[in-house]
């Protein structure tokens, strides 16, 4: 608890290596850590696998990483708002794994919660069921969906204390809290860093124990 997890931007770069899988918070770019995305671009990280809700737009959220060719694969629920994703997919330059949004959330949560998978009715009778185990419970058919984890999770929060307790703002919360559970290294970009003890324990949305590094967002 007493550890100060704030690091400088220059300390973060070396944590990103070519070929890593990266979970990113955000929904249409809202709740995505723009500074960490820029850093991945600036230092030319290659062959990334991105896991998150959507690829936003070409210049929003993780869009620029895709436009600039840093990404080899995305695991997302939606690409329709970013025509570049679609073009690269069709050109064979980008592997796209589409996952229903609720299933994506549960798979990430499983990966972070030590669960081996979850039974969901979503996707039964559709192309989503291809290659998956099914189970019948009480006469109803479910797909067995497996856990997802990543090497690194990049999160965006409104406020952190120095120990790493996080508070998100409005709908910018979305996938951030569950991704904090599901990656080997968790880095949060935050708008404000306060002293330990300044956030009421009842209001913490991601506990410090899950967060490895915090970095202060650059003013834009």
């Amino acid at each position: 608890m007493a550890l100060d997890k704030q690091v400088d931007w220059s300390d973060v770069g070396p944590l990103f290596r070519d070929g890593i899988s990266v979970m990113f918070g955000g929904f249409m770019g809202v709740g995505t850590p723009d500074g960490l995305v820029s850093l991945l671009r600036e230092q030319g990280t290659k062959n990334l696998t991105l896991i998150g809700n959507d690829t936003a737009a070409p210049e929003t959220g993780v869009g620029p990483l895709i436009s600039d060719g840093h990404v080899k694969k995305v695991v997302v629920s939606h690409i329709g708002t970013n025509p570049v994703t679609g073009k690269k997919m069709i050109a064979g330059e980008l592997d796209v794994d589409l996952v229903p949004q609720g299933t994506l959330a549960e798979r990430i949560r499983c990966g972070g919660a030590g669960l081996g998978g979850v039974l969901t009715p979503t996707g039964v009778g559709t192309v989503v069921e291809e290659g998956k185990a099914k189970m019948v419970v009480d006469g109803k058919t479910f797909l067995v969906e497996l856990p997802l984890r990543a090497d690194v999770a990049i999160l965006k929060a409104k406020r952190a204390d120095r120990a790493g307790n996080l508070v998100y703002e409005r709908a910018a919360r979305n996938f951030n809290p569950i991704m904090a559970l599901a990656a080997d290294l968790v880095i949060a970009e935050v708008d404000e860093i306060v002293d330990v003890g300044e956030i009421d324990p009842d209001l913490v949305m991601t506990p410090a124990a899950l967060v490895d590094k915090i970095v202060l967002a650059r003013r834009q």
Binding site: F27, M28, G29, V30, G31, D34, N53, D54, A56, A57, E59, T60, G61, V76, S77, H78, I79, G80, T81, G86, M89, V96, L98, P100, Q101, G102, T103, L104, A105, E106, I108, R109, T120, P121, T122, G123, V124, G125, T126, V127, V128, K158, Y168, E169, R170, A171, A172, R173, N174, F175, N176, P177, I178, D191, M205, Q220
Partner: protein, 242 residues
């Protein structure tokens, strides 16, 4: 938090499927459909609306009826934007919106626990095709459009009642209500109602039943534009759009 330049996102998540194939839509058709869908809502309902036509429905609710809109990106209590955009207050299309008093925010796992767990009373979505088994296709056209399913599969699977609100035919005049969907499904056997500018169908116990038609239309008019077998309700009515 500075808001990203979201106005450049022309198609919000569910927009792609909801608006596909309907560029030439006459405004009257949309209004007719939205007005009729509004009659299905009840006071206190929790509702998730797909992007496009479904978002028009609330403006036709009777005065004094309160519903709560669920937004799949993580909250209950979506409201129209009033005044300046607030940080993080965006709808599922990433567009700035408002919050009703009594709104509640949560993460994506909780959002879909609500959706999948039957805590959303009604979802209204656009459709590309619906068939007589209550199957819906609205998320991709192979070789043409692969936007991804976003939250649509979970919504159609989990909402208590699924209403498909769409124009009766494609802009080329092809029926969208079929004996069997030819496009990849969003969910199997989950559609409870199909509301178009021409007709209202209810699907119960696997039976597709015409319960209303547009003023001035006949059952034969409906048959001519519908490629699914359907029964005609004993209580067949004319759509009341007043």
């Amino acid at each position: 938090m500075k808001l990203p330049p979201r106005s450049r996102c022309s198609l919000p998540p569910e927009g792609a499927q909801a608006s596909l194939g309907r560029p030439g839509a006459r405004p009257e058709a949309k209004e007719v459909i939205a007005r009729r869908v509004a009659q299905e809502f009840q006071d206190g309902y929790v509702v998730n609306l797909g992007i496009g036509l479904p978002t028009l429905v609330p403006r036709y609710l009777p005065a004094g009826m309160h519903i709560t809109l669920q937004s799949e990106n993580g909250f209950l209590g979506l409201a129209p934007l009033e005044g300046e955009p607030l940080p993080g207050v965006v709808n599922a299309g990433g567009q700035p919106c408002g919050l009703m008093p009594g709104a509640a925010m949560f993460d994506s796992a909780m959002s879909f626990a609500l959706i999948r767990g039957g805590h959303v009373d009604v979802t209204v979505l656009g459709g590309l095709q619906v068939d007589e088994e209550g199957n819906l296709a609205n998320w991709m056209v192979p070789g043409k459009m692969v936007p991804g399913m976003g939250g649509a599969m979970d919504l159609v699977t989990g909402a208590r009642k699924v209403i498909v609100a769409m124009e009766h035919c494609t802009k080329e005049g092809e029926p969208r209500i079929l004996d069997r969907c030819t496009l990849p499904l969003t969910a199997k056997g989950r559609v409870a109602m199909v509301i178009t500018e021409l007709a209202v169908f209810r699907i119960t116990h696997g039976e597709f039943v015409l319960i209303e038609h547009a003023p001035g239309a006949t059952v034969n008019d409906v048959r001519a534009k519908t490629k699914a077998r359907f029964a005609v309700s004993d209580e067949l009515k004319t759509m009341n759009l007043g």
